[in-house]
């Protein structure tokens, strides 16, 4: 009888965990939806970014893009754990072909490679240049960026500014003229 009672307690606890995960799942989905409906398009400089930083090594495909674009590119950093990144990823995937789009490579910060690749697949980013940054290690160690979505504006292979943003068209407007980029 005692074993049955203990087993029942164990089952009750398992049920509570299942219920908790169901609630977390629902919450994560609602957070993502709230991100989609956020009305204001924010573009502001990220103060803690290391302005002027230039990493000793650039990962592919960013390195080849830098060569092609004379050291000036835009690197949006998205995280697989971020609600508003879902909306940003969809906007990036559906952008019309243009010069500024060709000068863009997307950095996916994620727990592990498979999660990042799944994010790329799910949002149809496969046709764009993407770099999966496991643990956000490269972005963090190179530029001190820990927040996403953030866009790294690279000029002459140096970080000119890092912009926190929630809307791709607003980001494109803010970075269209190199002389007027927010720093």
């Amino acid at each position: 009888l005692i074993i049955t009672a203990l087993a029942a307690v164990l089952l009750l606890l398992a049920g509570c965990v299942v219920l908790l995960f169901a609630m977390f799942g629902e919450l994560a989905q609602r957070v993502a939806m709230a991100g989609e409906t956020a009305p204001a398009a924010v573009v502001r400089p990220l103060e803690e970014a290391r302005i002027g930083a230039s990493p000793t090594s650039w990962p592919e495909p960013i390195a080849s893009l830098l060569e092609e674009r004379d050291g000036s590119v835009l690197l949006p950093v998205l995280s697989t754990a971020c609600g508003s990144c879902e909306k940003v990823a969809r906007q990036l995937a559906t952008e019309d072909e243009s010069d500024s789009v060709r000068a863009t490579a997307i950095i996916i910060s994620c727990g592990d490679r498979s999660t990042g690749e799944e994010f790329v697949r799910r949002h149809g980013l496969g046709h764009l240049r993407t770099y999966v940054d496991e643990g956000g290690t490269w972005v963090n160690s190179s530029f001190g960026v820990e927040i996403s979505p953030t866009a790294l504006v690279i000029r002459e292979k140096k970080l000119q500014t890092a912009l926190v943003f929630t809307d791709v068209p607003a980001l494109r407007t803010a970075t269209s003229d190199p002389r007027e980029v927010l720093v």
């Binding site: 074993i3 029942a8 398992a14 965990v17 995960f21 169901a22 629902e26 994560a28 999660t115």
Partner: protein, 185 residues
């Protein structure tokens, strides 16, 4: 009746019970996606409500619990068979009408629409009724059956839940960018 056949019934009933438990609790918390998915298939649209989905969740929960106790497991198997029939019909209708809305089955957000997986789950649950009718559990093994089934369901439901929400677990475990909320604040 051999002890092997008893363990086969325990394994089958515990697996079905764990599946029904996770499905029931997920539907209780978030019936929204299934309301949309079924609303796309069944007319009139307002027939499918969150209340109706939660009622189905209560039946699933009852089936899950009654499958765990040998004297009343036939009731659980019968409820599971009825639910299985409904799942299979929903899957067939989903294929026939070419549904596009994810069903949110087992609490999986996005993902699969109503289709082959639901049919397979339905057929297996109907098969469970036939297995339980075959008297493979002697009355003297009732206690042993219940203990094993309850422990198995605790483990299986946890494993199933972690499997379904692995993305959430992985992200929470590895996340280094504290981005939720901060980027938009």
């Amino acid at each position: 009746v051999t002890s092997h056949s008893l363990w086969i019934v325990v394994a089958a009933n515990a697996s079905a019970s764990a599946l029904l438990l996770v499905a029931a609790l997920s539907k209780m918390v978030a019936p929204g996606q299934l309301v949309v998915a079924l609303g796309e298939l069944i007319q009139p649209l307002d027939l499918i409500t969150a209340k109706l989905i939660r009622l189905v969740a209560v039946i699933e929960f009852a089936a899950s619990v009654t499958l765990l106790f040998a004297p009343i497991r036939m009731l659980g198997a019968a409820l599971a068979a009825v639910l299985g029939l409904a799942f299979a019909l929903a899957g067939l209708t989903g294929i026939a009408r070419g549904t596009q809305s994810p069903c949110g089955c087992l609490g999986i957000s996005g993902g699969r629409t109503l289709g082959p997986t639901n049919i397979l789950a339905g057929v297996l649950l109907i098969g469970l009724f036939a297995l339980n009718r075959s008297e493979l559990v002697p009355p003297s093994s009732s206690g042993e059956y219940s203990r094993a089934a309850i422990l198995a369901v605790a483990g299986l439901s946890l494993a199933l839940c972690l499997g379904i929400h692995r993305q959430l677990v992985r992200v929470s475990w590895h996340a280094k960018l504290p981005s939720i909320g901060r980027a938009t604040s």
